[in-house]
Amino acid sequence: MPIRFDNVTYEYPAEESAVVAVRGVSLTIENGSFVCICGENGSGKSTLAKLMNGLLQPTSGTVTVDGRSTATEEESELFAIRQKVGMVFQNPDNQMVASIIEDEIAFGPENLGVPREEIGERISYALDAVGMTEYRHQTPYKLSGGQKQRIAIAAVLAMKPEVLVLDESTAMLDPKGRAEVMKVARELHRQGITIVLITHFMEEATRADRVVVMNEGRVVMDGTPEEIFRDREGIARYDLELPVTDAIAAELAADGFPIQDKIYSESALAEAICRSK
């Protein structure tokens, strides 16, 4: 169930002149993939995310989800698309409508007209998938950022989407919260859900199948994490930041140290350095 962008441009209406957020982007998100969309603030990555489920409609070009165009005025069409392409946003507090977690998770299925009896099961499934089952009857107020985002993910999962778009969902979290969310994302990917991760944390990009880099509304780099990280010039030009381990490896390799210039976890880097003597 791919999401296809065909020469899509999006302009935000503004007072003096329209701001072009996305320019002529053509790209396909394949079924079952884990795509990371990176770029600095203002690169258009968040706009691209909102184009994926019709929250924004292209100024020109088309976005199709499983063959259906998002440029429709029909509410039922839009809902069908949004059921398939679920989205979690950046601010954990500004996504929840209910004071009890169970009610929050039920919100999506209720909107879809899912029968009562089935909603209960979906709530159980969703909370279990994000590891928050014990919190079913509690209020979200006292939860940590990571926990709140997991609830937000569960609230979307209850709608049984095929794609989960995480629009900078880790930007406001502490490292612990980020790790929690990434763990859930990887697990869901393992279960077959397509994951689109919008982020500026490059460590998160190392876990993806594919990394798409945006700059000033255009796609400027597109490849595996390895390919992207090896393109030093591109990384520098687009103000991305290599994770520390990769930056160290790059610097050592550039200085003639016998180590391959690639992506490393901490243990892999240690291994490679130890072997080099």
């Binding site: 603030n41 994770p243 240690a270 130890c274």
Partner: protein, 283 residues
Amino acid sequence: MSIEIKDLSYVYSPGTPYAAAALNGVTLTVNEGDFVAIIGKTGSGKSTFIQHLNALIRLQSGSVKVCDIDLTEKKPDLKKLRGTVGMVMQYPEYQLFDETVAKDVSYGPKNLGLSEGEIKGRVREAIELVGLSYDEVADRSPFELSGGQKRRVAIAGVIAMKPRILVLDEPTAGLDPRGKKEILALVKKLKETSSPTVLIISHDMDAVAENADKVALFSEGKVEAFASPREIFYDDGLLSRTEMDRPAVVKVVKEMEKRGVVLAERPVTRAEFIAAVKRWRNG
């Protein structure tokens, strides 16, 4: 111009069923010129602690002395205190309120009771210092600016008060890599110019290792350790007890030790690590 904290304790909502102890006897001395990183799990008392430094929280128990202002006195000079300790809260761009950038930045100096001329000068200086062009932004509404620019305006609003001590609560939260670099560079510049003493709350251990002179590790309302990054990040017992993460560099060193390679030094920054590895290989 130092900060002396002795046995500081604080309980929220004391005497009610919601009572919660946030600080349990914190003792700490920060000297002028220190760059202190305050680290600790969420809920360990870091925010409560810094809010005592400029008396946003009223002292309950213990003593706090900032420069020559003693907060145990009946009526400490709060105006002077807040002009001495400048505090930038988390996501400071959400506190902007005035019609123009210049007016918003002048809020602090106005509250200090400075003269019109002095205020104007400080506002211009502060806006330029944070890397914005005074002529471009001074008369614009702060709400028109981008997120990164708004944050700088908020910071300008604090440094226009020329605080000798600058306290920042996660100043890089929510920023992209370029934004983070720029803010950290700004903080370093401020340290060298008007605010020689800096305290930063941070969750980014790599940034802490690269920039801080001293690290105060908070856990359950107490300062578990107050030492150099090197001493803190190599103290395995301490880190596991407080459930703290390490900088990536230290993690790699530990992994190398697992494989039988021990470096002579204990690097915490990237540069130190690369130098140490090269020395090891050549030596």
